[in-house]
Subunit: 262 residues, 3 copies
Amino acid sequence: MFEAKVDASMLRECIESITAIVDEGKLIIVEEGLKLRAVDPANVAMVSFELQSDAFDEFRFAAKETETEAEAEAESKAETEIGIGIDFVKLLAILGIGGKEEVELKLDERAQKMFTRMGSLAYTLSLLDPSSLRKEPKVPELEFPVQVIIEMEEFRRTIRAAEKIGDHILLGVDGEEFYMEAEGEMDKLRLGLQKEQLIHLTPGTVHSLYSLDYISAMSKGMSHAENITLNLGNDYPLQIEFEVAEGKGKVSYLLAPRIESE
Amino acid sequence: MFEAKVDASMLRECIESITAIVDEGKLIIVEEGLKLRAVDPANVAMVSFELQSDAFDEFRFAAKETETEAEAEAESKAETEIGIGIDFVKLLAILGIGGKEEVELKLDERAQKMFTRMGSLAYTLSLLDPSSLRKEPKVPELEFPVQVIIEMEEFRRTIRAAEKIGDHILLGVDGEEFYMEAEGEMDKLRLGLQKEQLIHLTPGTVHSLYSLDYISAMSKGMSHAENITLNLGNDYPLQIEFEVAEGKGKVSYLLAPRIESE
Amino acid sequence: MFEAKVDASMLRECIESITAIVDEGKLIIVEEGLKLRAVDPANVAMVSFELQSDAFDEFRFAAKETETEAEAEAESKAETEIGIGIDFVKLLAILGIGGKEEVELKLDERAQKMFTRMGSLAYTLSLLDPSSLRKEPKVPELEFPVQVIIEMEEFRRTIRAAEKIGDHILLGVDGEEFYMEAEGEMDKLRLGLQKEQLIHLTPGTVHSLYSLDYISAMSKGMSHAENITLNLGNDYPLQIEFEVAEGKGKVSYLLAPRIESE
């Protein structure tokens, strides 16, 4: 059993952080809230998403209705969660209609449908068969030597400029400077920020090259965040962490590096 | 003889209600104002339009100049109106330039031209040969068992949501509820409004299916209206009535139903 | 040596007045500021551009570093300027990112690169080989019998309306009236302004036909100007002059007439 009420624009912000990486995925509902972990079709990027139940105006969940205490005790841990396959792109399209109203969600597990209601408008979303979805990925064990916390606006602006130059972007830390670099056939773009221009920086010497397409998509997915945390290494995956739902949700993106050809 | 002055944005609103259904048509000028009745090329939708002469800042009309009273009396009723073929899409494009100014209209019946003037900008629109236009349709005699008056914004929002789901929309009344339903391959959208959420509702049990393309176009044509009146029946045409020009004009759309295949 | 600081949106306005005619060109830097003269690929339109050094927050220029006074005296006049090939479209794209900040420019003549910096964002623009650019055109000696000064907004509005009608526009003066006329297959658009509706008019009787594509592009290039000066003749080139950078820059467009076929 899952029933909830939530601010429509807050839910939209959350779904947008997911659709930046995947169109569909398996959403896990637990007592503490919602969770998702999914990789993109090319296996290059991963999104981990968590939203606390207190981000909702109402949140009622029960994994299974059990009659007796004995039964309840007998239940395995796996039964304390519900996993449902969601077409997030479709859900986002519908949420885009409703304005800033509250959305009601109500799961019909048997019929494999999610009822959503915004005011007088009801929308029944058929769930996807979880077996048809890509498997939930394992999060690799990673250690990042360097961490940078930067204003989202500065990051986004640089990504938008880089899109006009080339296909890749180099992210690095050199001493107490964080930099982003894009090279075109003839031109070169570089953002350089000293430690004092950042919210946080671990000094070091690392850099990695990433596909700009993925970073651009991520940049849209985190457009509501004020600050983002970049975890970096040398020719190493990039991890970007940021908050959604006024701090009651957390998103983490992981992106594989590109090998520099020269 | 026809000469008039009218607020440009008001005229634009009127023309937009016509171009939602047809690109061109025969506009009838009479002493009381303007009238038009036209069907779309596929014969599925009809628009009836009326604009009172007092919606104009100036409105001067004479069907034919007659020298003597005897002549005047001899004239048949048919000669008390002028019918002119107008390319409304072209006229709308030109009105879109002029801002919120006043437009002057002046008909040159002999040359088959309509002079329009917005400030210092003059535009001469060649009239279409009325014989090249589709014949003015007869309005079928219809009786609608049920009438619903709804806020335009609520209607428009539902139509926009339905566009993301499917190609058709079901409009119906069930008891004291008015509903709109669209079904996709897997999903379903439903707006349900109780009598007290509507401006008016005749209780009943009717429903009809309509092509969403037409309703979407109509929705654009009536985007300035605050409320719209829906006249409904069972597998029956839909009639939508609304006001333009601050109540000095009336528009009525008529749309043939689709037969439900299942 | 060339180094300068300038308001980003002011520089953008200047570059836009150039890209209305050409994508790339040879920018001349002298002690007094910047200059450019270029023709479009079809040899139909020309732009002359001048920006005073005092439009810049900082402007430092030296044509060549010389060691002795004797050497300095020996230098020919040609060496008191630097000519650099610029891809203005690319430069404009980058300036579009930076908001309303100040831009720093720094020329590296040896490496043939222009460094630009907006806040923490640095962009290195490779210069174009001047020998690959079209030759700087000679300005033909022209005498214009008639001059009209008109509000840009009135001009722009008429051009936008004319775009919906046809491919050409007639500009003329008839007595004390300035007019612009576009004819479509069936329709006709005409703007007529009397001397008292203009800022200035030399009475006369002239008219010339021009390609609307070029005038539309020019209209975008001068969109920040309040007034524009039109110099006109009979089947003669059109010269449009206007100010940029709050009067510290001057732009002049020259457009060849079309021969009227009928």
